[in-house]
Amino acid sequence: MRRLVILGGGTAGTMVANKLRRRLDREQWQVTVVDQNDVHAYQPGFLFVPFGTYQPAQILKSRRKQLSRAVDLVLGEVDRVDPAANTVTLTDGRRLAYDYLVIATGTSPRPDQTPGMLGPQWRKSIFDFYTLDGAAALAAALRDFDGGRFVVHIVDMPIKCPVAPLEFAFLAEAYFRHRGIRDRVELVYATPLPGAFTKPIASAELGAMLDERKIAVEADFMVERIDPDTKTLVSYDEREIPFDLLVTVPLNMGADWVARSGLGDELNYVPVDRHTLLAKGHDNVFALGDASNIPTSKAGSVAHFSVEVFVDNFLAHIDGKPMTGSFDGHTNCFVESGDGQGLLIDFNYDTEPLPGMYPLPGAGPFPLLRESRFNHWGKLAFRWLYWHMLLPGRPVPLPAHMSMAGKHQPATEPDKE
């Protein structure tokens, strides 16, 4: 019996387990997923919890039930992997041997990494929304907020779903407007990036949307610490941003066991070949989803498109054949912009988000890099697609590789910064 062990039963781990279970002989292969608990959260739903659009129970399901019955689920916490011995040790002492290992333990917000964040103001005036607890606590704080300085903040890149803080700012602006208190709220968007987003054309478009909404951007802001007494963000170059309510995206890091196992970079991400996702220096270890160091968004769409390429590669690799599939960094994100509108961006390692239509040139129906109701509906419909198509590993009629069809390259690029 050959053994495939998948660490992490989130978006990437679940998809890989279900897809490979179907393709690997049951007599010859055992497929095991390890996760800490039996709760699978639909993470894109966290964004809507603070505004009361979703209740927490609506976005949680059993992990077990998302996995094929022929996949073993082991509940436990990884202590470390010994890649020389091909074993995984859990914190309770259990040991799992593997022939092939897939690391899909993702990335997590780490408020402990910024001095002052987890102080007396945590979940009083300082909130995150990338955890369900945080998003639910923020819902209550937003209801009670009746004016003042409201700061949306990113500690450092890379982060999971890098458009989410922008979406949160847009949705918060609409929320305050609908409550009739917009004129009493000063909105600030503090980012370590030089502008609203990383890529120039999208950054210009999204930056203009922040301007229209009178959301002030504090760019190139690298926070050093938070002073909980004065309720102030302080940067390394000693700029200060005071807040009444802070919604921060803490530093994102891969799992600590990755570091303990000597498999990670300075943020605990696993260095991999960006086209095959094979861990550097190892021939039987892959990292999928947010857990790797590939230069893309840490996003479910990347997990999805890369898994499509990975599955065929893996089947070739275990037969000793070369991996011929090459992941191109394809990313696809709906961006909620408030008032029932949204944008869509579609890009890869080499091509930045461009205007146009997706997936069909001309017909769309989703306009790229432009606000539209279609994109808002697309985002909402995606929840169904996630549970019923993506996780079970059913074919989704979207090509894994990015296509230039339907995209327009503007004649003159805006200033790169």
Partner: protein, 104 residues
């Protein structure tokens, strides 16, 4: 991509003036690149610049600020005082490397 002259040397640069050819860089050129953005290189500046050059060969990409700090053992605060405002970008410029990816 275009060719420009830094002092007496012709080098290939991108639209923002970052060198595109690793081997066209030398420490003499770094001094002039630094001067162009108003920085006079001291020993404290050279430590992260040299780390960036070596790390790029090993990793194939420009180290982020956090990586420079962690791997070269220089506090981020010090990097901000050595290369004010945009340290990651300024260090890459002087080291003749591509601008560090924004990690979309």
């Amino acid at each position: 991509m275009s060719v420009t002259s830094i002092g007496a040397t012709a080098v290939h640069v991108d639209a923002e003036g970052f060198l595109t050819e690793y081997d066209e860089w030398d420490e003499n050129l770094a001094v002039q690149l630094a001067a162009q953005i108003g920085i006079e290189l001291t020993d404290a500046h050279w430590k992260p610049i040299r780390f960036l050059r070596t790390d790029y060969i090993e990793q194939g990409e420009t180290a982020t600020l956090r990586r420079v700090s962690a791997q070269a053992g220089i506090p981020i605060k010090e990097l901000f005082s050595l290369f004010p405002g945009k340290p990651a970008k300024k260090m890459a410029y002087i080291a003749g490397l591509p601008k560090p990816r924004g990690c979309v």
